[in-house]
């Protein structure tokens, strides 16, 4: 005979419906479900923990690698900058308009002025022109004529001295003009 489904207890929800014996499978099912959920949660948490450890290790390795790379990059950058300055200076030296300057000197030569030397200063910051003449007026006239040219416009007299040569006394003048340095190309920085 089937049990009679008669119960006067007020029912409030599906878990309370039916007799205790009928509810037992529901509770068992609920318990099994909760256990499965708990096991799944624990497994997921364990996996996540492992992944987190792996990611942390990887991050630490990448960080170390990055630090090494940054140090290397800084060294390279420094070396590159020094090299660029050197190359630039060599380039500037090679491209300096010596021919123009010498051509202007030739076109302005005069008998009473003797060109002794034209050279760049030790620090390559100025051009030094040494001339000799019998007197000061001739030297100053030569200086004025040179100043008319653009490359000699800043030429100034910085020293004069008397020298004896072959029994004759002559005046030696040292003229100087600053070398106009073209700007270096802009350096690339890490922020750019």
């Amino acid at each position: 005979m089937k049990p009679l489904q008669i119960d006067f207890a007020p029912r409030h929800g599906w878990l309370e419906a039916g007799t205790d014996k009928q509810r037992r499978p529901l509770w068992a099912l609920l318990c099994v479900f909760m256990l499965i959920l708990l096991a799944a949660s624990l497994t997921t948490a364990w996996k996540l923990q492992r992944e987190r450890s792996a990611v942390n290790t990887r991050v630490a390795a990448l960080q170390t690698e990055l630090n090494v790379s940054e140090e290397g990059a800084a060294q390279n950058e420094s070396a590159t900058a020094e090299s660029a300055v050197s190359v630039h200076q060599a380039n500037m030296h090679l491209n300096y308009p010596w021919a123009t300057m010498l051509g202007i000197l030739e076109s302005n030569t005069r008998p009473e002025v003797t060109l002794i030397s034209l050279e760049m200063g030790v620090m390559r910051q100025s051009n030094k022109l040494v001339i000799e003449s019998a007197g000061v007026p001739a030297a100053l006239s030569f200086l004025d004529s040179l100043r008319d040219e653009a490359v000699y416009s800043t030429l100034t007299l910085i020293r004069q001295e008397t020298v004896a040569s072959d029994g004759a006394t002559r005046m030696r003048f040292t003229l100087e003009a600053p070398v106009v340095q073209p700007e270096l190309p802009a350096r690339k920085t890490g922020a750019q």
């Binding site: 005979m1 207890a9 007020p10 205790d20």
Partner: protein, 280 residues
């Protein structure tokens, strides 16, 4: 919710007393409350007029701090049983409930508003319906809200007994559940309920007297007297029936000895009912 998975408390609402059993062990059943209803049940002369709230709250107060699922078994003295047959074209459960209430009023001549009616509503054939005083159900529900226990079940005595031994009951024959002052007889054929009748008595009838009442009922129903009879509860003892050689009478569930009460001097009907709930 977990609280509801806790221990079972048994409450027996007997004809004259109320007992709460809050644990059964090898030493016996621990009775935490025993309340004589005559002092705590105003209007007890009729189930409709009885006010159950004082009795229920006092019994719980006597039991002290209890928790768990309370299984209430109510003596058949407070229960009304009858049959409900759903008519063809029935529209809803509410309609069936109204039909059961109407049938109750016809059979017992009492207003259905004072009673709580339940039946095995799942069945679309004839079904057993029963009614308990509404004030008792209300008091039990209120008590469960106020105390640290849930109302697991409220089941009439005969239903509790039948369900306990349902597996031992055949599909054909009479099933008779004996209470203190009545027995419920269910006539079944091929697994279907055919008739339900509650017989009241002052003294427990003998087996021939029981058979006589069943034969009369079968005659009234116009069916042959079944040859199988299952007896449940405090059934009368078996006797020789030489004039009915084919009749098979089986006493079901008697082999289960009830544990001795701890805190009670005798096994009352309320104690027995409380154990049905606590041990089921």
């Amino acid at each position: 919710m977990l609280r509801k998975l806790g221990k079972r408390l048994g409450m027996g609402v007997g004809a004259g007393e109320m007992v709460i059993v809050d644990g059964v062990s090898s030493q016996g059943a621990h009775v935490s409350s025993m309340l004589p209803l005559r002092d705590y049940l105003p209007g007890a002369s009729s189930p409709e007029t009885a006010i159950w709230e004082p009795a229920v709250s006092t019994a719980l107060a006597q039991a002290g701090k209890v928790s768990g699922s309370l299984q209430v078994s109510v003596s058949d003295d407070w229960v009304r049983y009858w049959m409900v047959t759903p008519p063809a074209g029935l529209g809803s459960l509410a309609e069936l409930r109204a039909l059961a209430a109407n049938r109750f009023e016809q059979l017992f001549g009492a207003a259905a508003e004072s009673w709580h009616i339940e039946a095995d509503w799942r069945d679309n054939r004839a079904m057993l319906a029963c009614a308990l005083p509404k004030s008792l159900i209300t008091a039990l529900g209120e008590m469960s809200r106020q105390n640290n226990c849930t109302l697991g079940s409220v089941v009439p005595e005969a239903v509790r007994l039948i369900n306990r031994d349902a597996a031992s009951l055949g599909d054909d024959g009479w099933v008779c559940s004996f209470g203190t002052h009545s027995f419920l007889a269910l006539l079944r054929a091929e697994g279907c309920l055919i008739a339900a009748r509650q017989f009241r008595f002052d003294l427990l009838p003998t087996l021939p007297e029981v058979l006589a009442r069943l034969e009369t009922e079968a005659l009234r129903m116009g069916v042959d007297m079944p040859q199988s009879i299952y007896l449940l509860g405090d059934a009368p003892p078996l006797v020789e029936l030489p004039d009915r050689p084919k009749l098979r009478i089986m006493i079901v569930g008697r082999q289960r000895a009830l544990p001795a009460p701890i805190g009670l001097d005798r096994k009352t009907d309320a104690y027995r009912l409380a154990l049905y709930g606590a041990m089921n």
